[in-house]
Symmetry: C3
Subunit: 472 residues, 3 copies
């Protein structure tokens, strides 16, 4: 056993510290929100009006995506199924606990307490999705200790960025194209840039799939695919907005999937289908519709966005990922730049177009609900007028479409900047000794961190590893 990668002291010590920290902070700061607090119930509150029933179904769907969807998807490597699935489990579990506190401090803190309800859990799971996407860039090349440290650092950077963008720039981003996908992508790229491994420049002999790992990974894709409409719509306004978010996501994923099959066949020299494309590129449409997912963009536009995003994603896997690895020292293991970066940029562009094109004729007065910052400010007589039509409409900032678009652009650049800087910094911290970083030879190999069953060895040995099935 390599003593420098033994988890015996490192992992328990880190977990213990984190748990003590979390337990203390929970004790001091976390209480129930009004919907979970028995003291807030009275003879007016109705049990079935509890927010639980609006939020829990979406929460449960996102849970499946985080723990099962991501878990299976990341288990695509032949000798790294345990690592993909189990480190995803550990990282996700810690991240959500940590995000409840850090993100909760920025979003659900008042009267000296973070008020906890299922809605916080949904938000924390979005933060978790960010960290898991970033994890994709360094899959197989990091120890669980490093992953926990990464999550520990990424959650605050993300929460601050999210808070600043939402508070000061005030953007529309229902599906999280900017704050989830772009942030996650560029943070992950920053980390992997800092963790550059020159010896893996020409790939790694264990960077292959097996027949079973490919099937398991497709299963993960399917879970993500099936529940993605819940992800994209979990935080929209209720009613028609959420309804459109479901429709657009479904349509975008569908056209993206068909396109992925076509591109996979056309670029394969034997005219066959490549499983890695089915596992990844099919999902591009879900990201691409994100920024405009609740707007009246029309079903056809969602269809077109799915095709566009998928094509960009595919070409990214084919040409950009190798380029980044070769020339920019960015070894992006799962190609997150294609599935989340390129598609995220397209999504943001589409969102800006949708904002610029939105008119009251098309949306009706509820336009000022969707584009909340375009709602007239307090005191404007137009506000009272609109509140007749849409009771409960909140005063906004009276922004024009063009102004809103500029703020979206500002959000894109500042998010990318914060993410990349945070990522690089985090990456250098992950290079500290004592974090059990795997040696180059032992990357992508479960034997390093797991007690593996006996057939693992016989399988490793029996396969002639020189026939290297490259995996983007």
């Amino acid at each position: 056993m390599n003593p420098s990668t033994s988890l015996r002291l490192r992992l328990p010590a880190l977990v213990l510290m984190l748990e003590v920290l979390l337990l203390v902070l929970y004790s001091i700061f976390v209480t129930y929100d009004d919907n979970a607090d028995s003291k807030m119930q009275n003879n007016v509150t109705k049990p079935m009006d509890n927010s639980l029933y609006r939020d829990y179904p979406f929460f449960a769907d996102v849970q499946v995506m985080i723990f099962i969807g991501f878990g299976c998807l990341l288990a695509f490597l032949r000798f790294y199924g345990f690592g993909g699935m189990v480190f995803n489990f550990l990282t996700a579990t810690f991240t959500i606990q940590w995000a409840i506190l850090v993100q909760g401090y920025f979003q659900f803190y008042h009267d000296g307490k973070i008020h906890l309800g299922v809605i916080n859990l949904i938000n924390a799971e979005f933060a978790c999705a960010v960290i898991l996407i970033s994890f994709g860039a360094v899959l197989g090349k990091t120890s669980p200790v490093q992953l926990l440290v990464m999550a520990f650092l990424e959650v605050p950077v993300f929460s601050v960025t999210e808070w600043a963008v939402l508070k000061y720039l005030r953007i529309n981003d229902a599906g999280g194209s900017i704050l989830i996908h772009l942030f996650a992508c560029y943070f992950g790229l920053g980390v992997t840039f800092a963790l550059y491994r020159p010896n893996l420049k020409n790939g790694h002999v264990k960077e292959i799939t097996s027949y079973h790992s490919d099937i398991l990974s497709v299963l993960g894709t399917l879970f993500l695919w099936v529940f993605w409409p819940s992800f994209n719509s979990a935080l929209t306004l209720k009613g028609d907005d959420q309804h459109r978010a479901v429709l657009h996501t479904f349509i975008g994923l569908s056209s993206s999937t068909m396109t992925a099959f076509a591109l996979s066949a056309v670029f394969n020299k034997n005219g066959k289908i490549t499983m890695a494309d089915i596992q990844n590129v099919t999902l591009a449409g879900g990201v691409t519709v994100g920024a405009s997912v609740d707007m009246m963009i029309s079903p056809a536009a969602a269809y077109g966005l799915g095709i566009l995003g998928c094509t960009a994603c595919y070409l990214g896997y084919r040409y950009l990922t190798p380029f980044l690895a070769k020339h920019l020292r960015i070894q992006d293991q799962c190609g997150i730049h294609n599935l989340h970066g390129l598609t995220g940029l397209i999504s943001c562009t589409a969102g800006i177009c949708a904002i610029l094109l939105a008119t009251e004729e098309q949306y009706g007065p509820s336009m000022y609900e969707i584009f909340a910052h375009r709602s007239p400010p307090l005191g404007d007589p137009r506000l009272l007028e609109l509140q007749q039509l849409i009771p409960g409409l909140k005063p906004g900032l009276g922004r024009s479409a063009q102004e809103q678009a500029l703020y979206q652009v500002a959000a894109i650049f500042s998010t990318i900047g914060a993410a990349a800087a945070g990522g690089v910094l985090t990456g250098f911290i992950l290079k500290l000794p004592f974090l059990a970083s795997p040696p180059d030879d032992d990357c992508f190999d479960d034997e390093l961190f797991f007690d593996v069953p006996s057939d693992f060895y016989s399988e490793v040995k029996k396969v002639p590893l020189n026939e290297h099935d490259s995996k983007v």
Copy 2:
């Protein structure tokens, strides 16, 4: 590589054509329905009353069945796991997109537009289930190009049949026994009849399972089993009707499952359990309760139907499938005639009995909601009387139970006729050259259409293929 089965040009060209067609039709014809259109929201509409919250949970459950349940179930062959799972993914994705248009034209078209909401997606997924069932008849013996062409043709035939039966015959078929299961079955048999492969008369050396593929397939069965109550109840009336549909489906599946274990053991010459029975026959009860699933048939009747359907299904696998293959040139790969045809016929018979036995004493006045066509016609004084008891009761056709039963019979025969004719015709079209039909030797083999990882070859080679585990 066999150039005649390369997907390099065929698949992308077909997908491109289909996508252009879909995109154009979506642009011209598809708009949001009232629940997804922001312009239709006003100071009376309440967000939480949006149809999304009634439909989406059932939609999500059916999604899991379609993409994960079917996908895993169809991956039961040792060398065709990619094909089963991935072609299911492709076919389902295209079919739903196409059904949104074609079926939408017949069911959700007014004012020159197809109005889209989650309810259309549920309907489209039912159409998708039809195509996937038919796919079961030709699994492993068709290229993805053929599957897309089959879906392209089957959706319109199904939609027209569905429309005609619902508009002119007006039947009760909540669980889709007639329109889903019988149609799908006889269409699929028609296709496989036309695609008859004489060289596969005595089976195929690759038509075997593996330990892992059997487990994966059972996992698919379990997903179908668990969510089948949602499938059977997704399109019933809300309230007690949907409640009964859930109960009956659960009970029918339960008795069917126990029966399947018993039959599997009793007919096995070594007194062991056969996995293929667990994978398929256990599900028979879900189909068998379909036609009467929302009626007041009593829990015991659902129980009995589960046993009956399962027995017919089992005997079908054992005796009828080989007979059809040998004497009628119908090579029914997954035995859809047993799981959907025989059970569908029993279900229809049971539905007719339930219709004939239904009385107002047993159902109360809401009988005229369940059997909507027995409701008195407009102008009948009895209608006003009933509307006092059941507000919102719609006028019907004043049919007697016997009349309704006759229409059900007519629906059965016309559906079977349309399906079989459409299937045979489609099958002959699938024989056209350029559709990449797999050669006999390469059936049930992922190597033909997929880049397979290196362990696939070593596995294929290492297994002595002469010990042929026959698989019904």
Copy 3:
């Protein structure tokens, strides 16, 4: 084939008898409850107020846990994947049918009928969870015939215990720590005590996992993990109570998971992670928060309970299970005493503390809803006062916190007593001949009860079975 373990006659005969019994009892006793009966609908009932919409989402989640979560989790053995998954399927299916009747007789019986709705199914699934947990103690060492007999006997013992405890002792046990986990655990230990196999004292050569079975089992863990909040909250009061149950379960599972990773690494001599810990110990928190899951214990307390339960569970696997096997003849295959017994006891203790510490200041008046037996009795003027604040508050028994705590203690001991006695008795009945009990050599081997595909043999043969990966 060993004639004494052939299922050819035994299984079908037993199933036939059970089905006839069930069908007769369903016919005589089971009818629809008011929410599923069309006759009970009138011009006041609203379809969307049907109990289906409150109960079905939780039912569906628990279904996934029972059939897929348990199924995959129990498939962790290398040569017993079919057995784990498929016998779980059979046992669960029968148990639910049987519990609908037996438990229904105690809980939903009036006017000479058992009234059936989805709420009964949820209750029956809880009974099913009990039997499946007990099954964990004898996994791989029992035939399906024995399992059905065990379920046949355990369901009535459980239902009577549950009924007596709820009717006479009247306890708080929302997550089922006493009635589900403690009962299941001690019943299972009783059975395995009676079925003691001296030849397996030093383990069994086939008691190992494989790379794929470990992954499948983790997948089961993840399904249980994701839906456990639904399990723990399915039978709480609606509203804030259910909301807290979701939060506490999620938090408890999270802290438990992190702790499991730490303990796994610290006790492994190579500083690696052991998959069995990830598969089992991570879940301990879900049980540990059970008894107090709906109370105002604070999020931090749920966090602490998760850590505590996980630690006890881990140490149990490490030290107590071998001790029980060696000195008390209790061969607890899946270690249910750790995951359900020890954690259950901690949970009960925590529940009692929470009861003793509960004050009206902290809970508000709805304290008397959560602790229903502390509500003032009928006629007490305090009751009317409280009913002003909480409309619909039911009269209780006017118990003090201390009294309630004593009843909880009484419930713990009587449940453990009834379970252990019932288990031992059932175990001796399972030793009757003709129940196809597997010979020692054929334990943990699918070949005994299944037609296995050809690669099963080649795999069995190729693995040098002397390198025994011990599995707790």
